[in-house]
């Protein structure tokens, strides 16, 4: 009884609330079920899409950081559990590999007037996904601390190291740096970022064979290790979420972190307004005299499931068009670095914008990239902690990747 009551109230709230929006979306019928990661910008998009709910259109969402682990099983069932999956550069590949998403050309033609060409993810000529925001790791710095100590904003890792040394020598901050180097996904992401800055490729062209046992990779690892000597001794357990408390406590003056977190760092409602005001962003540093920022560019976007009715697919696409409409973006310019028409760079977005401008390279959208990412994540910690050589760490990562790639059928 109670449950029934709650369900009715929830449904009533869902369909009764945004009555005015119904006309705006103009969807006659269908079910929209959204699966996505859980961060500020995606909440904005999902909330806007939810305004399309009406008597005949249901819009539900599941926003969870576990999205990547459930998306393939959830979209494999027929009908699929979700009609829309919000994905990023890396999480789209398992869906493409599984053939679980539908081409969007027809919908883009009919309902995609607001889209820009750069938002369309084309694979072999067909539009498979729509991107709406860009993301990348870049430099966060304390303007006040750097200025007081006469340090220019660093643009290369050499300058970052020099700045950190100066802050330490002058007794300002003992460990002024922090980067998410947690063993596993994060340290692999840091490696990929820095490695891409050297201009080298991760795979031998046209094959799934890794190409990380080289000078560039060693340079990358050595730079990372030098950076870690200016971090807290626990650096091997730091993930992105653990960086902001350190920043707010004033324990660090420079961090490399995600563009999608900048809004929280400079938020006016921050618990330490002085720190928030002095927080500024710049492009990721360059490495080894190269000119491009050492950062992988990521996009976030959405796909429409294949195993659903055409009616639901169309309703989903149209609801998502409202979710990422220029109006939504205009109301929430601070939430992300939007790729949507009419967006202008905000102070929170300068880091990612500078990466883009500097010619940073995209994160590889390859079906076997996830395997390499995992193999790197499992095998770099020992080097970072001084227990083995860079060559050994890279050899271990290569061996782990080869086993996984063989088992997954990417290599003979």
């Amino acid at each position: 009884m109670n449950k029934f009551l709650m369900a009715s109230v929830a449904t009533a709230a869902l369909i009764g609330g945004p009555g005015a929006a119904m006309a705006e979306c103009g969807i006659e019928q269908g079910s929209v079920r959204i699966l996505s990661n859980d961060f500020a910008a995606l909440r904005v998009v999902a909330d806007a899409a939810q305004s399309c709910a009406s008597d005949t259109v249901t819009v539900t969402k599941n926003q969870t950081s576990e999205h990547k682990n459930i998306q393939v099983p959830a979209l494999t069932t027929n009908p699929a559990n979700y009609t829309v999956a919000m994905i990023a550069t890396n999480s789209v590949t398992p869906l493409l590999t599984g053939g679980l998403v539908r081409p969007l050309d027809e919908y883009v033609e009919k309902w995609g007037q607001d889209l820009q060409e750069s938002q369309l993810i084309r694979v072999d000529g067909q539009i498979m996904a729509i991107a709406f925001m860009a993301n990348a790791e870049h430099l966060f710095y304390r303007e006040d601390v750097l200025a007081e100590n006469d340090i220019a904003v660093p643009t290369s890792y050499e300058e970052v190291l020099a700045a950190a040394q100066k802050l330490r020598d002058e007794g300002v901050i003992e460990n002024p740096l922090a980067v998410a180097y947690q063993s596993g996904w994060y340290i692999a992401a840091a490696f990929v970022n820095t490695y891409l800055g050297t201009g080298a490729e991760l795979f031998k062209p046209g094959t799934a064979e890794p190409d990380i046992q080289n000078e560039n990779a060693i340079k990358t690892l050595e730079t990372m290790k030098e950076l870690s000597s200016f971090m807290t001794t626990d650096f091997i357990t730091l993930d992105t979420n653990s960086l902001r408390p350190m920043w707010e406590a004033g324990d660090t003056a420079m961090q490399i972190s995600w563009g999608s977190t900048t809004g929280e760092y400079i938020s006016e409602s921050s618990s330490v307004p002085d720190v928030a005001r002095a927080t500024k962003f710049a492009a990721a540093p360059t490495i080894d005299g190269n000119s491009i920022p050492s950062a992988a560019l990521w996009w976030d976007g959405f796909v429409i499931a294949k195993n659903i009715s055409d009616e639901d697919a169309e309703a989903s696409f149209r609801a998502m068009m409202v979710g990422i409409s220029p109006d939504t973006v205009q109301e929430n310019p601070e939430a992300a670095v939007w790729l949507v028409k009419g967006y202008e760079t905000t102070p929170a977005a300068v880091g990612v914008a500078a990466n883009l401008e500097g010619g940073a390279r995209p994160y590889p959208m390859l079906p076997y990239m996830g395997l390499l990412h995992t193999a790197l994540g499992d095998n770099l910690a020992e080097f970072m902690q001084g227990q083995e050589s860079a060559e050994q760490a890279l050899a271990d990562a290569t061996a782990a990747y080869m086993v996984a790639a063989r088992e997954s059928g990417f290599i003979d």
Partner: protein, 342 residues
């Protein structure tokens, strides 16, 4: 009991055991012999917000066809068991031939993921299990002497580590041992070493995990021993007292022999439990310094874009094998005792 009656009694549980224990194990064993089909890949042009690039793509339609022909994948025999991520026969052989000293050979083998995980798992099992038994026993003895009025609260607090969800307990301790946490900062002050980190050093991480393991499991041993203590024959204890035995001698010569079967039981349970050590590694973010067989299975299934079912199945089978080997001495002993009684 006639066989018919025995069968009538046993068949429901036998059926349940076959369904829920035997069938899954057989299915996992079968799975471990297979790997994914060869991926059919083509090079296609893909474009996005950051430009166009020619990239490899999997032909989903061709793969679907392959999978419908043979859903299990390609037969790989024992290939998964012997590959570099598991028993790594080739790598161990190469290490044997390529190293001049035993130390060098061991160092190379310990760099292989499976052996790395195995050595931690075994160390954890053989260090934590005896400590749990000893500590649990002494807590039980201590609690047993507490006055009746205080017993309730004392027992409750002694059981707390077991009541707390393992992952939560691990996380709470993880934050406390952080360089800026209450334990971590205190240790730095005590040893006057600002670089001291329980999370960064492999040895200290291991010690932390062992301490956590003992902290978490001791209440289990305590509760079992405490129950046992209530049944220690009072007349034997009293006659020991008449003989002039001290408190320690009474424990040593009456209580301990009497509780020995319980110790075997706890050892059995703890060996099995500790061999499957997993939560503390996640809770303490200790992946950098420690990995266990269970953690290997977890990463195979969870960390990549595609779950490596074959690898996970092979690791599972190796874990089961490990548990069997571990329990063998205890089982043989139980069997002998049984034979003696019959």
């Amino acid at each position: 009991m006639p066989h018919r009656t025995f069968l009538a009694f046993i068949w429901p549980s036998l059926l349940a055991m076959i369904l829920f224990i035997a069938v899954p194990i057989v299915s996992v064993a079968y799975q471990s012999f297979f790997v994914e089909h060869q991926q059919v890949m083509t090079e296609v042009e893909s474009c996005g917000p950051f430009g166009c690039k020619s990239e490899m793509r999997v032909d989903a339609a061709a793969m679907a066809e392959l999978r419908s022909e043979s859903p299990m994948g390609r037969f790989n025999g024992l290939g998964t068991y012997t590959n570099a991520s598991h028993l790594a026969f080739d790598e161990v052989g190469a290490a044997w031939r390529g190293s001049d000293s035993l130390g060098e050979f061991i160092r190379q083998v310990m760099n292989l993921p499976f052996y790395k995980a195995l050595i931690f798992t075994l160390s954890y099992t053989f260090i934590v299990t005896p400590l749990v038994i000893v500590l649990g026993f002494f807590i039980a003895i201590a609690v047993n002497t507490v006055s009746a009025r205080l017993k309730g609260p004392v027992i409750f607090f002694s059981l707390l580590p077991m009541i707390v969800t393992p992952l939560i307990g691990a996380l709470v301790l993880f934050w406390m041992i952080d360089a800026r946490g209450v334990i971590g900062a205190t240790l730095q002050a005590v040893f006057n070493d600002p670089q001291l980190s329980l999370k960064a050093s492999p040895t200290l991480t291991w010690v932390t995990l062992f301490v956590y393991g003992v902290w978490h499991s001791a209440p289990f041993a305590f509760v079992v021993f405490y129950a046992g203590l209530q049944t220690v024959p009072q007349d034997t204890l009293e006659s020991a007292m008449v003989d002039g035995a001290s408190r320690w001698e009474r424990i040593r010569f009456v209580t301990i022999p009497y509780l020995m079967p319980l110790a075997t039981f706890i050892a059995l349970m703890q060996l099995m439990d500790n061999f499957r050590v997993f939560e503390p590694i996640i809770g303490f973010s200790a992946e950098a310094n420690a990995s266990s067989l269970s953690h290997m299975i977890y990463t195979d299934l969870r960390s990549g874009d595609f779950p490596l079912f074959g690898s996970a199945a092979a690791s599972s089978m190796l874990t089961i094998l490990g548990v069997i080997i571990l329990l063998f001495p205890v089982l043989i002993r139980t069997w002998r005792d049984f034979g003696r009684k019959a």
